[in-house]
Symmetry: C2
Subunit: 454 residues, 2 copies
């Protein structure tokens, strides 16, 4: 039986594996889910062992453990290090899920569950493919190492130190990331660049406690007003970041990606319609993609302060805060970006307030793959065979922080070979993973390992 | 036994009554507390009956019931209608309470509980005083009517209609409000004017669902950014409201109150130190009081949108909202103020967003008492005797919406005779009521009824 036939024949069991895995609430950003982190890492370690991986272990990282396993076939063959993560985004707002986030449910040939698409489904694929090779051919066409972290959705705070600490263990010729996502459901794509990321929470405080807004209104400092003015100072009328020093080090966009953007013939109006917006703020598709792929951003992810219940409470809150993440392009340094924002906000803080900053992890730099890397061509050929169309080379707005970490620490290139699609709501309610992608992904990984070994 | 001696002798029982009353969670703004509303209105009706009130009933209002009772002594005596409310502010943030909000606790000669100061303690005083008159003298020196509403903290949405509906029942010569508050703990005061109030919640929506801020950042509309810019557009650099039409109808401040402000020798630096702010945004005490008492305000009471948990979630939220209340001065119409704000914000809404408004009740106009009203002089004399110092005439930033309603519907003047003090955290955690105020209040109400009847 061929590997691909074996995978077809065992698809139902594979789907059961994914359901069991996605049922575990392994949210890494919230300590309330520490149990789910433990269970998911254990589940994965056991599944690797059952698939035939050797030296399976949960690696100490200083934070949530990473899961590691390897199948070393022959020192003469190339060694591939597969990357993924077992942690997931928080599931809230819970009330918007049609079925509970941790009760995986099939609807319309899709599996709905938090983490199904990011990254539990895509990561399970190479595990199942390795098992299929062992069951059918008795060996793998490459040496395979698997490294699955548990803090990706928290900004991978211990990832680079973990790479350093286990550098010898992770030695390889190429990294293949099972995390990431195809750009569009209707067009195959290969991600060749991604923006970096850095996170910052800003809290503005006025009085030392909440005050009655009737008695104190007009005299006591209102931190919601101060925070709003600070937020409004961060972008210009064209939506671009106005922070001094924010753009330091940025380079002009890669002409090859600009060419790919032209080839994509992106329809801005359709994009806005898709996300439910009638009146397009950006009308030109090329400009829109440049903004999404190639320009840095400063986005507000959450804001809170004061009374949050129903109706009215006449209070001036003591403080208000906003969560910010920035997407970085080549040349921007995460720490320098944070510093620039902190300087900008501190300089504009009105009298009567204090300001505090909390940066969530070290952030990550932008990342780009060498366009002539042979593995990139191989991966593109396979996608072309299976999906009937040569993939577009795209940049992704979202970061996969590991991109730059592998090249910096291990000195090895990384390609992205994920079968998630970016419309699968993986950071929103009702995340799903297409079963068709699960099937195609297994075929594709089977071919990828074969050809990388050849 | 004199009435005052009787009240002294029964102080412990009075305190037990207050504890039992304040233990009932009668939050009117949140439907989750509907049981507490029911219990508190029932408790009050029973206590009135026990005190000797006649025709006690819970009046249908279209919302939470109002509680009514009367003691009609003699048609030749003046009739006093006492106003108060049995509903309380929401208790959150719960974690900031030293003892639970609905477990009344004595500390340092104060009773700590949500509602102890606003308005359960002050309202219980005239009930206890009426009972004391009946027990000692067998009759009251006036005809007394008591009207206690259950929606004051919700903006009294049905109050004016209730006044209209029961106009004959509420017929009186004078209204005395047991709600309101003394300005300072160290200086007796009489409130002769108060600002009005109006509430509005503003929600800005971008995409139809939450989006990944990595993928969509830079292209999708971010409602937190749009809302912040709208908020920042509502005030000028001096902190005053810039909305066109907001100030329509306002009159110059009453010179008598300006004179009282001068007499108060208000220390702005001490005020800011008190509320925990080192660097005073307004340095002149007179200007500060003018802002607090005599100018309209637009304050933000709560803001929310996007991810509210710990750590980071890379999301562009679908919507963000802010809760606004405005304090109004004489001449401003609540509906016109809301309309002006809605026009201002709608005109400034950027492309790609929609905006929705939700106004919480009809609001209330500002209110001022005739400075020559005899009852005002009587009340001032009594405070002077009991507190050793002639009271200041003050305006209050906070509204007591009933002020203007009584004069408009019943054509009768209202004075404020509350023994709450404005430092008693009545819209914040750890609300308390001074036992000394409870004692003094009973003496004062005993004298007030006697002299109004003379
Ligand atoms: Zn991921
Ligand atoms: Zn009150």
């Amino acid at each position: 039986m061929s590997v691909e036939t074996y995978l077809e024949a065992h698809f139902d069991a594979a789907l059961d594996d994914l359901k069991a895995y996605a049922a575990i609430p392994s949210v890494s950003t919230d300590p309330a889910f520490i149990d789910g982190i433990d269970k998911a890492s254990l589940f994965l370690a056991e599944r690797l062992t059952r698939a035939g991986f050797d030296n399976v272990e949960r690696l100490e990282t200083g934070g949530h453990p990473a899961v590691y396993g390897e199948i070393l076939s022959d020192p003469a063959l190339p060694t591939i290090l597969v990357y993924g993560h077992y942690d997931v985004q928080p599931p809230d707002p819970l009330e918007k899920w049609l079925t509970p986030p941790f009760e995986p449910t099939l609807r319309d040939d899709r599996l709905y569950a938090r983490g199904a698409s990011d990254d539990k489904g895509p990561l399970l694929i190479p595990v199942l493919v390795a098992e299929a090779y062992l069951k059918t051919e008795g060996r793998l066409p490459v040496n395979l190492k698997l490294l699955v972290e548990g803090e990706e959705e928290s900004g991978s705070p211990h990832f680079e130190a973990t790479l350093e600490a286990y550098r010898a263990k992770f030695d390889c010729d190429l990294v293949v990331s099972a995390d990431g996502a195809m750009w569009r459901a209707d067009r195959p794509s290969m991600t060749v660049a991604s923006r970096g990321n850095v996170a910052l929470e800003v809290t503005v405080t006025g009085a030392s406690k909440d005050l009655h807004s009737g008695r104190h209104g007009g005299s006591a400092p209102n931190p919601i007003a101060a925070l709003a003015a600070l937020i409004a100072s961060l972008h210009g009328p064209d939506g671009r970041v106005t922070v001094d020093g924010f753009h330091d080090g940025t380079l002009p966009p890669d002409p090859k990606i600009l060419a790919a953007i032209g080839a994509a013939r992106f329809d801005a109006a359709a994009y806005y319609r898709d996300i439910g917006i009638a009146d397009a703020p950006i009308v030109d598709g090329d400009s829109l993609l440049v903004r999404q792929w190639l320009e840095p951003t400063l986005e507000f992810n959450g804001i809170s302060g004061g009374y949050q219940g129903r109706g009215t409470k006449t209070v001036i809150p003591a403080s208000a805060s906003v969560k910010i993440t920035c997407r970085l392009v080549a040349g921007q340094k995460p720490r320098a970006v944070i510093d620039a924002i902190e300087r900008h906000l501190t300089a504009r803080l009105p009298t009567g307030f204090s300001i505090a900053f909390d940066s969530d992890g070290p952030g990550s730099e932008a990342f780009a793959i060498d366009p002539d890397l042979p593995a990139l061509g191989i991966a593109e050929d396979i996608l072309g065979e299976l999906l009937g169309e040569k993939p577009l080379r795209v940049a992704m707005g979202a970061t996969v922080p590991i991109g730059s970490a592998f090249s910096r620490v291990l000195g090895r290139p990384a390609i992205f070979f994920s079968f998630a699609t970016s419309d699968e709501d993986y950071h929103a309610p009702n995340e799903f993973f297409r079963l068709s992608s699960f099937r195609t992904g297994m075929k594709a990984w089977a071919r990828l390992l074969k050809r990388l070994g050849a």
